[in-house]
């Protein structure tokens, strides 16, 4: 399957190991009789506790790359290292949270039970599951709506339930695939603040995919700019602005321009 197995490098480990390390990731999909290279030779290192944005036009392979990091898609070439371990040997996937583009709440479960769902994959005792789900809902300030069903919640609230669900496992790494892209501007800003507040508390590593330069400039410590056909990382830009950041700050605007030019 892996034609370049021989070129595999060992994952760096020890205390200094980065949260995520991507070494020469390549992936192509078959489309009829043609194969389309979606990712080619992607290199990226993401340090522990960092907030990193993956930005690029559509078709740049951002979501594919995130699926590969999450281990639900196998790369054709290259090596993914998670916390110093090779992806295929890494066994602590429940400490990696994942947030989808849509909230993906199960309609037949209440908010509380939706958050519990993430813990039901493992073997957490039911009282502890209830307690932890409750705490996660408190973290996103939705404990008052624990018993509401998804159809009774607004888009922003549903998004926060989804966030609570990806946080309830206490992930060291949180992967987010355009998580707020379907929300209106105001709610999106509120979710950004929510995410940064939780990050200050929990210090998890955050990797998010976005096509919004403002979102990247406001949230990220570093932004990896991807270019399409085949998707690869063109440039990594450090966003050196103190927090809290604001969309009206001139530095933020400058970074947004720089990101826009890089895409």
């Amino acid at each position: 399957m892996n034609s370049r197995n021989d070129s595999r490098e060992p994952c760096p480990d020890g205390a200094q190991a980065p949260a995520i390390r991507l070494i020469g990731i390549g992936k192509s999909f078959a489309n009829g009789d043609r194969t389309i290279a979606v990712l080619d030779d992607v290199q990226l290192t993401i340090e522990m506790q960092a907030i990193v944005g993956l930005i690029g036009s559509s078709g740049a392979g951002k979501s594919t790359l995130l699926s590969i990091i999450a281990g639900i898609l196998k790369p054709d070439h290259g090596q993914v290292c998670i916390c110093g371990a090779a992806s295929e040997e890494f066994n602590d996937w429940r400490s990696v949270g994942y947030m989808f583009q849509d909230d993906r709440l199960l309609p037949w479960r209440s908010a509380q039970r939706n958050v519990e769902f993430a813990l039901e994959a493992g073997s957490v005792a039911s009282e502890e599951r209830v307690r932890r789900a409750r705490a996660a809902l408190e973290l996103v300030e939705l404990d008052a709506f624990a018993d509401a069903f998804p159809y009774q919640l607004s888009g922003g609230m549903r998004s926060r339930v989804a966030l609570a669900r990806s946080l309830v496992t206490e992930p060291r790494i949180l992967l987010m695939d355009e998580p707020f892209s379907r929300l209106d501007a105001q709610t999106r800003t509120a979710m950004h603040e929510e995410l940064l507040r939780i990050h200050r508390l929990k210090r998890m590593t955050v990797v998010f995919v976005t096509h919004d330069v403002a979102e990247a400039a406001l949230l990220a410590d570093r932004v990896a700019v991807m270019s399409p056909r085949p998707g690869t990382i063109r440039e990594v830009i450090d966003i050196e602005i103190a927090r809290p950041r604001d969309i009206t700050q001139p530095e933020v605007t400058r970074y947004m321009q720089r990101l826009r030019a890089a895409i």
Partner: protein
């Protein structure tokens, strides 16, 4: 757990009773109008063609007093429930397998419409040939009618299982059997339930057909007997009992159960 019960109760309390009350008044008015119409029409016709409400009430009291009513009702109910439960036990796993396994689904696809087109009367005739005059005849007819309906509905439900939810479970590294339990089953349940309700209604109706021709007990048998003796008042009494029993099961048991199980669904009529 207690909190979720509380939430359901408050919601039921805020929108339930007021609506219920004028609904009950409406239904009672409808029933009263029906009875008056029946009474008026019965005045000008001989009683063995159309007996009036009073005559039917007398017949009903008679069969209730001598135990006839309860015995036969119990026998019929037992046959229907037995045939129906067997159909559900066979139909649910079959429906899931046919829906989840594409090859099995494609292979067996023609079987369901064929089973559905065979009339219950034909099953009844076969049943008499195979089982004679016995409980098995009615049970078989009920089973053969209900089973394809349940399979069809569950099969349809399996096709609606969301790939997105499966992906969510995979990201969480949820084992396969838990995906079955936590995603497949809740998705299928509404389909299973509506299929079952449909099948249960059919079961009742076909059980009577089966009992009229292939049984020496049960409501269907008594109905035919009453008809043979031109005791039209008793025919009405049996019919009325059945209608009331069915309506009670539907409204007091199935509808509330459905409302509770599927309370997470957006209430269409409330919008």
């Amino acid at each position: 757990m207690t909190q979720s019960n509380e939430a359901t109760e408050t919601r039921a309390a805020t929108r339930g009773p007021r609506l219920r009350l004028d609904l009950i008044v409406q239904r009672l008015a409808l029933a009263a109008a029906g009875i008056v119409l029946w009474w008026v029409s019965s005045l000008s016709v001989p009683h063995y063609i159309l007996p009036g409400p009073a005559r039917v009430w007398e017949a009903l009291r008679l069969i209730a007093a001598n135990g006839d009513l309860w015995n036969n009702l119990a026998i019929t109910l037992w046959r229907v429930v037995f045939g129906f439960v067997t159909a559900a036990l066979v139909g649910l796993p079959f429906g899931i397998v046919l829906g989840a396994n594409q090859r099995a689904g494609e292979f067996f696809e023609p079987v369901i419409p064929v089973l559905n087109t065979v009339s219950s009367a034909i099953w009844a005739i076969f049943a008499i040939i195979w089982f004679g005059i016995s409980n098995a005849t009615t049970i078989f007819v009920v089973f053969m009618t209900a089973m394809p309906l349940i399979i069809t509905n569950v099969w349809q439900g399996t096709r609606t299982v969301s790939a997105d939810f499966i992906e969510l479970a995979r990201v969480l590294r949820m084992p396969r059997w838990k995906i079955m339990e936590k995603i497949y089953l809740p998705t299928i349940l509404p389909y299973f339930f509506s299929g079952s309700r449909l099948a249960f209604g059919f079961s009742w109706r076909v059980s009577l057909v089966a009992e009229t021709i292939g049984s020496s007990s049960g409501v269907g048998y008594r109905l035919r007997q009453a008809a043979d003796l031109i005791r039209t008042d008793q025919v009405f009494a049996w019919t009325l009992t059945l209608v009331i029993l069915m309506a009670t099961i539907e409204m007091a048991l199935l509808k509330p159960l459905e409302n509770y199980l599927f309370r997470w669904k957006k209430d269409v009529e409330m919008q």
